[in-house]
Symmetry: C2
Subunit: 431 residues, 2 copies
């Protein structure tokens, strides 16, 4: 089909929507030589017509009526940037059913309804692309589906939430406590008014579900991902981690093991020499390990108006090229396996823990005896006098152990009178 003008509709005109509009304007003169066609935004679905009018050249593109978009046969592509589950899901399904291609940055939706949406796209032979849903402007979905398709991926992991990475960076570099760093993040616009989805790890969890599905060719949904946030991390944890040669990062991890997929998000100690340890501020980075490529990392802006728009427009251009070459739906769902997802209790990790114990002879012996009972080996230990009288602070890093066994050991330990408090318990990334 040699179509010179391809018409698209934007659903939502917030930060990313505005970014997409701007980027398409900047690319106006490049589209014909680059793609062979011109992409035009024909309609923008907004809630408040008046408020949006200031942001467009011609207010006639604005509408608050979805039917005007879905029923317009001239509109080839719908760009969904409303976010959340409804009405985004219904709109996308209706668009796909109407034979329109869809580009979205909606991680909440894909992490739960990815299969449904990709199936609908396949039935109607249209494209459903979502590069912007993971790690903002960083190319990762297409590299995994195409450039790295010759690999069996063993692992895909990384820093996929900019808000929490900013907070942890401030806690590490300036010794701030969590609540002060969060306040600063809010002040600077890195954290939303309700920061729950970020600081509790939910946002990162959605991205891990999507990354794991694409990397391992097997569907992983949000509910499969074990999630812990960063609200309990203290400046003291970070200080001890540094003493042990590590930084603390909120990591999203997906591993493809023989017994099944592991998928989790939690604050972890990571050796300071690892490339991810120096990914700071609101930057994101995704690290992959495959049987051919070995280690590779993709680094950049995980959010923001123009970086996220860069990913959305990349998808739009891909569809324009597909329309021109008459090969839409060239690559659809790549989940052709059905691998089990492991329970968190069945994963293996090293653990870092900080305890306040009674400061008397025999306490360390008791602790290590409990560990031994459950097969937990101690790899590193630091003991210091704590502030409270007759108590001592003990920091331990264990050898690799099954999470379930470690938890049982910790329950046993915390029930004992010699253990006054378990202050922290964090996983340690790596062998």
């Amino acid at each position: 089909m040699d179509k010179k003008i391809i018409r698209a509709a934007l659903l939502g005109f917030g930060t990313v929507g505005t970014g997409v509009y701007k980027v398409l304007q900047k690319q106006k003169e490049d589209m014909i030589p680059k793609l062979g066609s011109q992409i035009e935004i024909k309609k923008i679905l907004v809630r408040n017509l008046e408020k949006a009018a200031a942001k467009v050249e011609d207010p006639a593109v604005l509408t608050n009526n979805w039917d005007e978009i879905v029923n317009d046969p001239e509109i080839d592509i719908v760009i969904e940037l409303i976010g959340g589950i409804e009405p985004a899901r219904s709109y996308i399904l209706a668009a796909l059913n109407a034979g329109k291609h869809v580009v979205t940055a909606n991680k909440d939706l894909i992490a739960v309804y990815g299969k449904e949406l990709l199936d609908a796209a396949e039935v109607h032979h249209v494209d459903f692309l979502f590069e912007a849903a993971v790690a903002g402007g960083i190319p990762i979905i297409r590299p995994l589906k195409e450039c790295l398709a010759g690999n069996h991926m063993a692992e895909v992991m990384g820093i996929v939430n900019g808000t929490t990475n900013f907070i942890l960076t401030k806690m590490t570099q300036d010794g701030m406590e969590f609540k002060d760093a969060l306040a600063l993040a809010t002040e600077l616009g890195y954290a939303e008014a309700d920061p729950t989805a970020d600081i509790e790890g939910l946002d990162a969890g959605r991205k891990v579900a999507i990354l794991a599905s694409v990397a391992f060719n097997s569907r992983v949904v949000f509910d499969d991902v074990y999630i812990e946030g960063i609200t309990k991390i203290t400046a003291k944890d970070i200080k001890y981690a540094k003493e042990m040669g590590c930084d603390i990062k909120l990591l999203g991890v997906a591993k493809n093991t023989e017994e099944g997929i592991e998928a989790y998000v939690c604050p972890m100690l990571i050796p300071s020499s690892h490339p991810l340890a120096s990914v700071n501020d609101s930057y994101n980075a995704v690290f992959v390990n495959g049987d051919a490529v070995e280690n590779a990392m993709f680094y950049g802006r995980g959010a923001g108006e123009l970086p996220t728009a860069s990913a959305v427009v990349g998808d739009l251009f891909d569809i324009a090229r597909n329309i021109k070459a008459n090969c839409c739906a060239r690559i659809g769902c790549t989940c052709y396996k059905e691998l089990p997802v492991k329970k968190m209790a069945d994963t293996y990790s090293r653990y870092f823990m900080r305890l306040i114990v009674e400061d008397r002879c025999g306490v360390l012996a008791e602790m290590t005896a409990v560990f031994a009972k459950y097969g937990v080996s101690v790899a590193q230990i630091i003991q210091r006098a704590a502030r409270a009288e007759e108590s001592a602070e003990v920091v331990v890093i264990t050898a690799k152990v099954r999470e379930g066994d470690f938890r049982t050991a910790m329950e046993d330990l915390s029930g004992r009178s010699s253990v006054r408090k378990v202050s922290s318990m964090l996983r340690v990334y790596g062998e």
Copy 2:
């Protein structure tokens, strides 16, 4: 075309060819569900049939006769891994003219004859892909052509030669001198028997030409790239750089400025806080800056059997998908602009230099007067007593200055009796 078996031929069966063969074997069971078709290696062109026989299941795939490949209508794809200009160029052109798709890792060829080859592919409506030609396993060509296509790229630069990065890492971390680090690289197999192309920066220069062409949509060839190698770098330069908060890396840099494209390869000081400064050993990384994505970086193995094969197989899979969707040559040459390339003398940079000067009153004043005459401002200066009697070592970092003016200043300076020796002169990356 619903083709269940796609036949390919390998030209060359060295490190990368063997890697491609292995990776395709590992992907045997995945190709049908992933691509809808099976890629089979029908022929492998080798020089020595006997030597190669040990590496394949069925020696009947081996041939030393190119005609058997180019004249075989069953062979859809030719994978050129011979390297160098001839016979690679003639083989590729013949394959394209015969309507076969071509995948290559041949940077020497593309950096000089890229346009000719891409034009031939376009005429015959076939794919010509070369992801493996730059930075081995790291996805960068396809991300630039597709994922980041919505950007006007301002810069693409990075560490694109693993051998020199290994050498500089050893010089930095262990204080080795260049020739000892090179000897170690040779011993460990990171450097070839004739290391000229690596240590003189030629290999990196080819990659810069290709990266600039793809990133800026305008052809840059090898001859356009200004090149300096790392043979004159000393452990002392690295020590002084560290004192000034920098590391020394062999950087390939391409910038898209209003006056034209800058393209050069040279050892440069880079702030230790820059993500590229911690890319060590034989790892590569490519850093890009675009008007939408802002900063992004791609990191991984720039060479090696399986990492490079990962990129080749990614291209092969892309072609298999194009064949299935009947959209070959979907993306061809993306150089639709004709931007000028600047002379090195017209580029701007900060400079680091190390001089041995007479240790007497007035010498610094004379130096700075010469600098001032040519518009060179001094940003940082260190002066130490040198070993030779009555001489002092001065290390200077300048503010940004036009290269031509800086060179004139240096000529003036080195002609003066007070300057005994210009030990080093290096550019400094960044503003």
